[in-house]
Symmetry: C2
Subunit: 331 residues, 2 copies
């Protein structure tokens, strides 16, 4: 078995975020649960867009944000995701490559257009996401580059991409390739509504021992086990995955690795502007710490530092030099 040349290769939605300020009344009147992600077709997306405020377009996509953050922390990363042959597709491709992430998935011709996530940020900095998956949902199994997957120490998958059929099949294929190559598989549960749609599948991945690292936030962990007791849920899932990382918002995060447990408080932030990408960047920091061979607690701290940076401004991609931030705070 050859040595890996990349640290992480991720498969995820290739999305451009359209971020707008919104008041609580607007989110309520749209009938959407604040803080959640919902899927919508292009017509519904266009209709919401016409009603929402002026936006700023910033590349997003959960796993894409994670590898962009990891690359900013010095990790060598690749990404697989589907964009269309349009201006927003070019924006996504430019941005992830400008983040020094290998991205070679062939552009998809014709309709639908590149995925857009209309993000409503309320004055409490909470984000509510309205996603038109567009081309992203047609990521074909053929786009899974065997060599790329086998070349990376860790395969990272986002739960959101479990929704559409073709990418789900593609991710299953990628898991097989990674395991056959002796690589680790990391997975993020993404969102409680996403879990409610795919709980059986997600539990099956876990029970089958296919996942080495699992990321969740508190609500997602509880949703996964359909429970209300955090410690019981943590214990139950930690027994089934070698590494479990659970973020708890302002209460920090906890990780359990082979029975060892570590916690970290949330990193102080002067002003929380937009929580979009907090979980994605926490995962980025944690994984970057792990591939650097850092201890569990230090990896958590790197997650907290990266998450704190991304919630201090609009958009889910880092603005500050993350590696410098970590060096300053953690050494």
């Amino acid at each position: 078995m050859t040595e890996p040349t990349l640290d992480v290769v991720a498969i995820g939605n290739a999305i451009v975020d359209v971020i707008a300020q919104a008041d609580d009344d607007f989110v309520t009147s749209e009938g959407v649960a604040k803080g959640s992600m919902r899927l919508m077709d292009e017509a519904t997306s266009d209709s919401l867009y016409s009603r929402m405020g002026p936006g700023r377009e910033i590349s997003g996509g959960s796993a894409a944000n994670t590898v962009a953050g990891m690359a900013a922390l010095g990790a060598k990363c690749g990404f697989i995701g589907q964009v269309a042959d349009d201006q927003l597709g070019a924006v996504f491709a430019h941005d992830i490559r400008a983040n020094h992430v290998v991205f070679d998935t062939a552009v998809r011709a014709g309709q639908p257009s590149t995925a857009r996530c209309l993000i409503l940020v309320t004055p409490d900095a909470q984000r509510t996401m309205n996603t038109f998956l567009g081309a992203s949902q047609f990521l074909p199994e053929a786009a899974i580059d065997h060599e790329l997957i086998a070349s990376a120490r860790i395969l990272y998958l986002e739960g959101y991409l479990w929704d559409p059929e073709e990418p789900r099949a593609a991710m299953r294929a990628a898991i097989e390739i990674a395991r056959a190559a002796g690589r680790k598989v990391a997975f993020t549960l993404s969102d409680t509504f996403c879990i409610s749609r795919h709980r059986a599948d997600f539990l099956n991945l876990i029970d089958s021992g296919l996942l080495d690292i699992l990321f969740a936030n508190e609500s997602e962990l509880l949703s996964l086990v359909e429970g209300t007791d955090f410690d019981a849920a943590l214990e139950a899932i930690a027994a089934k995955v070698p590494t479990l990382v659970v973020t708890r918002g302002v209460d920090g995060a906890v990780a359990v690795h082979d029975g060892e447990r570590a916690t970290v408080p949330a990193e102080p932030v002067e002003r929380v502007v937009d929580t979009t990408g907090a979980g994605d960047l926490f995962a980025a920091g944690f994984l970057a710490g792990q591939v650097q061979g850092r201890a569990l607690a230090d990896s958590l701290r790197m997650g907290a530092i990266a998450a704190a940076e991304v919630i201090s401004h609009y958009g889910a991609r880092p603005e500050a030099k993350l590696s410098q931030l970590v060096a300053d705070k953690l050494g």
Copy 2:
């Protein structure tokens, strides 16, 4: 003569900004003067884009930023500018309408695509702009809506749009309509390189008494008169336009109106992030003050407040509620 129903109608480039962080070495290696605006064709723009860092797309365009700011200050505004039938054109149109600005210029089919301005923001918050004018340079005279122009108290024009031939003719036609309807004409000199390309035209507009309000920054004023003495330049031009407003960066701004002179210091800013749009938003605040019937000094103060807001974040459109900021600071 009927009463105006709009406060301002602006004609300008319809541009989406692509804003990226860059270090000084990168700007130097591109051979561009830091702080300036240069025009480039699509191939050059694409080439620079491929080399620059990850971006955020935020609607821009100098005069468009000004009316977006004015609308945020409660003024009734319209905008005329040319976008193409593409995703970035839709982004521009959405954003300006979401700012409650009337925008009805017909989309232009075919090539070139919507204008893009690649903005390199250095660590000193200075912006260097690299503009591909795209569809914007083909704004036809036919797009000048006579009724719209005649309905607005003030016609506002950006010097940048003097570069391409068709919009220049369109703006000349708009000036005639506005003057025939008894409206005021405001003009911004935009940029020293722009002035060096069109000094004779700009001086001719001034000498012909076609401009009622002229905006410039210190360098532009000096470039216009090809002088080095600020006070002499101010006096010379103030003698020819009823209202002259000159911004001086950290030194604040000065206005001269029919011999009355007022100054304002720069509004304090916690952290200057990106100076893009400072002049545009200064003009927005000043003009909004004027249409509200405020005194010269208070109008300058509104300009300073609006400019301070826009330089505290990335992008040239206001994020905070400007009318609230002004109410808090000025009453």
